[in-house]
Amino acid sequence: MPTQLSRRSLIRGITAATAVATLATGLAACGGDSDAATTTDTAGTVTVGRVSNGAARQTALKVSEVKSISAELPAAVRRSGTLKIVVGALPDGFPPLAYIGGDQKTLTGAEPDFGRLVAAVLGLKPQVSNATWENMFVGIDSGKADVGFANITDTEERKKKYDFASYRKDNVGFEVLKKSTWNFDGRYENLAGRTVAVDNGTNQEKILLEWQAKLKKEGKTLTVKHYASKNATYLALTGGRIDAYFAANPGVAYHVAQTAGSPDPTRSAGTFSGAGASLQGLIAATTKKDSGLAEPIADAVNHLIRSGQYARWLAAYHLSDEAVTTSQVNPPGLPLGNS
């Protein structure tokens, strides 16, 4: 799930490495293909929820180009005829949003599927590639990719470099071991004395830290843990090192279903609105600042909302609770200085 990219330090590192870049010349190309999702859709149809490993109902959606919207595209993109979509799901994916599917090779999930829907409205051929979370942003910076669809939260910090077209809100939830007796009743007092893991730089982290501060004032403790990867977090959960994992609810639902047959099954221990009282978290398509892509993408999303395909896409992935009524370009995001 989105971990905050320390972009500035990355760029510094890259600058340092520039000195030796020329050594990379002269090596013959070897085999090895990047794992773009291969689709066999006929024209005018986008199938979502393929090889989802139980996360979605496979659904064929009829979508065709809307000339008035594709006319807004920057000339270079329209000429190329492709929309280069990047998904930051390496090495661990985050099902059901973006992950390697049940055939154990195809990149699938709600996010790349939505990217393909948007591409269809824009009359472009989608070209989906997978990268690490960091490389996804660097790839957008460098033009290697046009747009990221990867559960990226709209924040003011990121707005300095990127334009956003919002398309979803997120719910968050608690995952605990099945044998645990704890349940979240919606009140933060409920968390006193617990140890909870959360992903870095996420919406839910901000919520959790706020609760932690409140509890502290009351003289109670809430221990917050961060792990390097989702897999590491789940190992900590099964090993009893943490009481609960506070994460985006679609992921929690998927994980609960998947571990039902394993020695350490888990369950959901309650949800909370990610768009809660004080915070409005939005997931947005991410493009390079001033690339001129955010507007046509927002229009395409709005077209999908109006045509009802948007709702069908969400329903296929059991994400209907996260629907937005309209896509906005650069809506207010999580404020600066929240990390």
Binding site: L10, G13, I14, A16, A17, T18, A19, V20, A21, L23, A24, T25, L27, A29, C30, G31, G32, D33, S34, D35, N53, A89, L90, P91, D92, G93, F94, P95, Y99, I100, G101, G102, Q104, K105, S129, N130, A131, T132, E134, N135, V138, G139, S142, G143, K144, S229, K230, N231, Y234, L235, T238, Y254, H255, Q258, T259, A260, G261, S262, P263, D264
Partner: protein
């Protein structure tokens, strides 16, 4: 154990009167009994047995899922990537290391300084940064040209075509590997006795021959174990190639772990066992390579495991024969 009567026998076990006494000539010494060692051995065996039993029976490890995953195409594809990247980088890295080591030892202060700087830089910059940079390099520099420096270009490459993920991974790891290999090779060359350089020079052997036939073969004796160490590290650092969107063994296991979160532990075990197999294979090769380069360095070569086993068997048989004879 046969126990010749006489000096080695303690008072408590004085020979019976009717034991035929042999002449004490060329007596074999009775080895000292070490009960502490036997107790320690037994204790260790019990602990090892417990660990093995736990591994086999604890449901946490999900051995049925391990069996499912061990030879899955997704895992084997990752293994292939690991092998390909590691093998290519090992060879290119060693070649680069030899060149860097030669440059470092050369009389030219510029070559020497460049070599030093390269090693310094690539040992300092994290491999991850190298990989991320190279991966996005093609986006920053669209084409590469061969031609007169700062002048006209003769050939121009479209870099995005050259730089497949595999190329980027191999180049990144090789650049990194060469920096370490350079020091390993340099250390090996320094370990060769100065007299060898002098003897080669005094015989008037051509410069290239001196290095390839006299110095390098002797240096390889100390290079081999150090470079194999590097190599094993390299096999494991291939797990970073997911930074260039390439899924190696560990990357595939991690990806599968997110899609099949119930199988994270067996998947990690699958990766572990494969790494064990790879490391073992490398160690076997190392043994024979070292044995080859030990020619002349020791008076007798160390026995191969097969020879050892044969010798051990022969010794056992001989001992059994002796005991039967008593």
């Amino acid at each position: 154990m046969s126990e010749p009567p006489g000096a080695a026998v303690s008072l408590a076990e004085a020979p019976l009167a009717d034991t035929p006494s042999k002449p004490p000539a060329a007596q074999r010494v009775q080895p000292l009994r070490r009960p502490g060692r036997w107790i320690a051995t037994a204790a260790v065996l019990v602990v090892v047995a417990q660990i093995l039993h736990g591994l086999a029976t604890n449901p946490f490890y999900q051995w049925d899922r391990f069996r499912y995953w061990f030879l899955r195409p997704a895992v084997l594809d990752g293994l292939l990537v690991t092998l390909e990247v590691a093998a290519l980088s090992a060879v290119l890295g060693l070649l680069g290391g030899v060149l860097l080591a030669l440059a470092r030892q050369s009389g030219s202060p510029v070559l020497s300084a460049v070599s030093w700087t390269y090693t310094w830089l690539f040992r300092s910059v994290p491999l991850i940064v190298v990989l991320i940079f190279l991966y996005n390099f093609s986006a920053l520099y669209k084409t590469l040209s061969l031609g007169i420096p700062f002048g006209p270009a003769f050939v121009t490459f479209d870099e995005s075509k050259l730089a497949t993920d595999m190329t980027v991974a191999v180049v990144g790891l090789s650049l990194n590997e060469a920096a370490y290999a350079a020091e390993v090779v340099r250390g090996g060359v320094l370990s060769v006795d100065q007299g060898q350089h002098e003897a080669a020079a005094a015989l008037g052997l051509p410069r290239g021959y001196q290095f390839t036939r006299i110095v390098l073969p002797q240096a390889l004796r100390s290079i081999t174990p150090n470079y194999v160490n590097q190599l094993i590290g390299l096999v494991k650092s291939t797990s970073l190639v997911f930074y260039v969107s390439l899924l190696d063994l560990f990357g595939s296991v991690q990806t599968m772990g997110s899609t099949y979160p119930g199988d994270i532990v067996p998947l990690l075990l699958v990766a572990t066992v494969w790494y064990l197999i790879l490391t073992s294979a490398v160690s076997v090769v190392q043994f024979y390579v070292e044995r080859y380069f030990a020619r002349g360095a020791t008076r007798t070569l160390p026995p191969t495991p097969l020879q050892k086993a044969r010798a051990g068997l022969a010794a056992l048989r001989a001992r059994a024969g002796r005991e039967a004879a008593v």
